[in-house]
Symmetry: C2
DNA sequence: GGAATTAGTACCGAATAGGTACTGTTTTAA
DNA sequence: TTAAAACAGTACCTATTCGGTACTAATTCC
């Protein structure tokens, strides 16, 4: 059903939570408790995000994880790519040589369109935007004080 | 890894093939042979597409399947939705009541953004475009005769 | 009525996802 | 220097889903 995995789902929740207090450093147990997610999963996910460069980790007693960049500089595309590999909806993209239909398949060159369309869509959403509880349109229609309370300002769509 | 299933993959290949000769009617064995895909799978997929209203089926000896609409009026979003259910990247969209984190999860309302972004991306690609072997940009840069050979004109990106 | 064709459903094996456990490494601080 | 807190890596198990097949109706044409 064209779903992201739960791992990624959790990962986005965690990163969003971290983005609200972007300066703070979080350790796995605290994050798990605050996000109401199982610790082993949280641990696993944070390790992955750190390895992929989206988080910076510090070991030792006072260790923990912090965002590697400003929330506005981290896109959904990056997060998803970090947690489940390159965003490619179809198989025949990565394994170009293996496809037996290569010469016959008229669709092949067009997969790129679909993949790119999705990649663009995901690249256009930043972590900073995810911390804002309302949609940009509604925010600008409402009173400005609310939008100003979020740490990052969103570029207009 | 945020993939469509092979069923959907095959489905798009089949529909693209049918879109090239949009008036013609195809039966399952012929289509399987022409697309170089296993017949049982093709059969299964065509049934589904017919049930979802993307294809029109005719039973009996001279039966077969035909496109229900013009290729330009069928979007990727519809095809994917027909073959693997509604396009919703995350779970908490459809099962609103069940999510235990509902009251705590600050991300929840923002999933809509991601889902809609992807839905928009997929809605913007039509079956007619998939029959064109080259990307729009390259086509307009090349000689016009080539682009004119495709049955449908693509809107500029 | 017989043959061709779609419709529906049930089933199985293999791959993948969700989740857990364990062992190692680094850092702080008493 | 040693113990504890935290991250790093990896291996493993179970349940679900996917890819694929088979079989039995229901229709339609000749």
């Amino acid at each position: 059903m064209i779903r992201i995995t739960k791992q990624t789902d959790y990962g986005i929740v965690l990163l969003t939570h971290m983005a609200v207090h972007a300066e703070r450093q979080f350790n796995a147990p605290d994050l798990a408790a605050e996000a109401h997610l199982p610790l082993p999963m949280v641990s696993k996910i944070l390790k992955l995000l750190a390895r992929e460069g989206l988080l910076i980790s510090h070991r030792g007693v006072k260790g923990g994880y912090g965002l590697a960049r400003r929330p506005a500089a981290i896109s959904m595309a990056e997060i998803i790519a970090a947690l489940e590999g390159p965003v490619a909806i179809t198989e025949c993209i990565d394994e170009e040589g293996d496809c037996a239909h290569e010469r016959l398949c008229p669709v092949r060159s067009n997969w790129h369109r679909i993949n790119e369309a999705i990649l663009n869509a995901l690249s256009g959403i930043t972590l900073a935007e995810m911390t804002n509880p309302l949609l940009p349109k509604l925010v600008t229609l409402g009173r400005g004080a609310y939008a100003a309370s979020s740490s990052e300002r969103q570029p207009p769509l």
